[in-house]
Symmetry: C2
Subunit: 403 residues, 2 copies
């Protein structure tokens, strides 16, 4: 299959920058390997006849000028997590190169301009900021918020940006994007479990995160009868069980995760006096998420009261779901049907650049299956046949939008 | 009340050694403050007319020789935990001094010899060994086990023992103890909750401790549907809830504690792939404890299986309950009744020197209430009226045994 060879070709070129021994990538914003990768990508864009240019902050745009007004964009982010795979972000750029190359070879100059965007940053894995790339494209960046941030080695964000030859945007105007289609790996295991070839994304999940503190009374594990205990671990267990079972019962795509916990004093022979834990709950419909969150907050208070515990609930994140554009979803569904692809209409449980684009332009996403659902890991993988199907759907969607 | 003044007198003398600013004691085995305290105690014993002597390892014995054969002993340990109170251990020695002083003043020379023992070590708070004192008294010590152990500063047990002028026993013969009555603070809150003045102990609890590992699959908190998760925190919560509720239902004095937990990776946005936790369960009857433990082990395996988790259960401690001597219990109960004390027949949920003595000689324990159940803490406290009642019961019990 021709398209697989094209994918491998571009994957090999880009994966050289930030490559780890044993596979995978670490390619963080404003590092040498990041800069070299963007520069090499610029050359590859130019080889395809694109007009390629960086914006002030380091986003890279490759443009095929159309014969008429308007722009159609695709792309994803070039940065990775620490010890990530070589598909998260990068596959959307590889897919864009392959799709546009084939469109140009088959159909020549498009009516609307075709634009491939390699976004500077999405992961938040070097500095404590996310979506720096897409927010700058769309004029949504907050320069003040990044002015004093540092990486784990104490290097300043602005200095590192300058070192790479970039700077804050002179004005906050948005660039012309037109519409945006992002090709990405699923990073979950739903497509694999359902034996589907492609995901068409209808929304990016809403997300609430909590820090919860339960305070009981630390006591001797041998001399304190059960009836006199205020056991913070018991309260925690009741909350975890109730919440997970409610989430399962309430809606098949609601997810609720108790990812971290700390007991104090955390000693085998002392009844836990304090329990601090996290909750992450997500759903692509705001109403369902709100309903679950209200139930959860009330239930936690009720359990704490019943067990004689004090409770503090801190909801520190409350991101609304972002729906994809209805017309764009329909276009992707119809195109998938035309191509005979066995697709699933689904939401994204993780955040993506598309949720930023969707605030300003018609946006949609295509997912390809992740083997074992593994991601943010050097073992991240997608079968080349699945990658090819994703590129094919992107190519045909861009054709309908541009030609 | 005369007896309260006597208690305060001896408490003040002994509490000078290892005293902390702001109250409480740190007096660890084979430290200078420990040695000075034992030496000062020897002087106080001699002032009462006792023949006082150390054994090879540093246990201190004060003897009033009786007119007939036989010995009756009381005492407790002189060492403390780090930042402990001034009652745990020390109160048994203070009480012994007060009781014997009053017996001698009231009744003169006893028939059986009266012996006060200040045990070198019980807490295991400096070196990883416990009951070093009582085991040496009874010829049960394991010298090999302590030969190479060190404290947190790297100081060797044997060197520190030599530095204080002590050494391993030349032979493993037991010393004549006759019978043993230990006066101790409760370290729990049962007497306080029940509004009782005194506890007569019928057994020292049996205890099983486990390390449990649940292994599921770490996964993305947003992209992994609930139905496809193997969530180690969920399995943990089900086990904690089931075990605590079973313990409450099964027996009012069964206790079960999940004191420590560790999730891996312990991150807000990752489904926990592994959960390591501790269990401590105790009951003074072996049969009840065994029944609960069997149920618990089976239930944990069953929950793990149902939730697709692997489980490893390591029972690393299995101490049998130690019953106190029936005749000695009856003697304490009858004496408490004679004195009009509002006592509770109860077990000890914590370990004590008496569990070592009980292996060789008729043994019993008296508890006085701990304010708020607080112990192993500089705020450890018992009302002087309650301390006096404990001394009075000890004095009257020793009278019945010795005169």
């Amino acid at each position: 299959m021709e398209i697989i060879e094209q994918i491998k070709h571009y994957e090999k070129i880009l994966s050289a920058y930030g490559a780890l021994e044993g596979g995978g990538l670490t390619r963080l914003l404003y590092t040498d390997e990041w800069l070299e990768c963007q520069k090499r990508l610029k050359e590859e864009m130019e080889k395809l006849g694109m007009k390629a240019a960086f914006d002030e902050v380091g986003n890279l745009f490759g443009l095929i000028e159309g014969s008429e007004e308007g722009v159609v964009s695709t792309g994803s982010h070039i940065d990775t997590v620490v010890r990530g795979g070589n598909l998260d972000g990068q596959f959307g750029i590889v897919g864009g190169l392959v799709a546009i190359k084939n469109l140009l070879e088959k159909y020549g100059r498009p009516k609307k301009s075709l634009q491939l965007i390699s976004l500077a940053e999405e992961e938040g894995s070097r500095f404590p900021t996310v979506f720096w790339g897409s927010k700058n494209v769309l004029g949504l960046q907050d320069n003040e918020a990044v002015k004093d941030i540092k990486d784990s080695e104490g290097l300043n964000f602005v200095n590192e940006m300058h070192r790479c030859g970039f700077d804050f945007k002179k004005d906050s105007k948005a660039r012309e994007v037109g519409s945006f289609v992002e090709l990405h790996i699923e990073q979950g295991n739903l497509l694999e479990k359902l034996n589907k070839e492609i995901g068409v994304i209808n929304a990016i999940t809403g997300q609430k995160r909590y820090r919860v503190k339960l305070r009981g009374q630390a006591n001797h594990a041998g001399t304190t009868r059960m009836e006199y205990r205020k056991d913070a671990a018991y309260g925690y267990a009741l909350i975890v069980k109730a919440a997970i079972e409610k989430a399962i019962e309430m809606d098949p795509i609601l997810v609720c995760t108790f990812g971290s916990v700390e007991l104090i004093p955390n000693t085998v022979n002392v009844v836990p006096g304090e329990c601090n834990f996290s909750i992450d709950c997500r759903h692509p419909q705001g109403q369902v998420l709100d309903e679950f969150a209200s139930w959860l907050e009330e239930t936690m208070v009720q359990i704490a009261e019943e067990k004689g515990l004090e409770i503090e609930i801190d909801k520190w994140m409350d991101e609304r779901p972002v729906p994809m554009d209805e017309k764009m979803i329909a276009l992707l569904e119809n195109t998938a049907k035309d191509l005979g692809l066995n697709y699933e209409l689904m939401h994204s449980g993780a955040g993506h650049d598309s949720q930023i684009f969707a605030e300003k332009v018609p946006t949609a996403m295509i997912f390809v299956p992740s083997i074992g659902g593994i991601s943010h890991n050097i073992n991240e993988a997608t079968a080349y046949e699945d990658q090819a199907r994703g590129c094919l759907l992107l190519e045909n969607a861009l054709y309908k939008l541009s030609y």
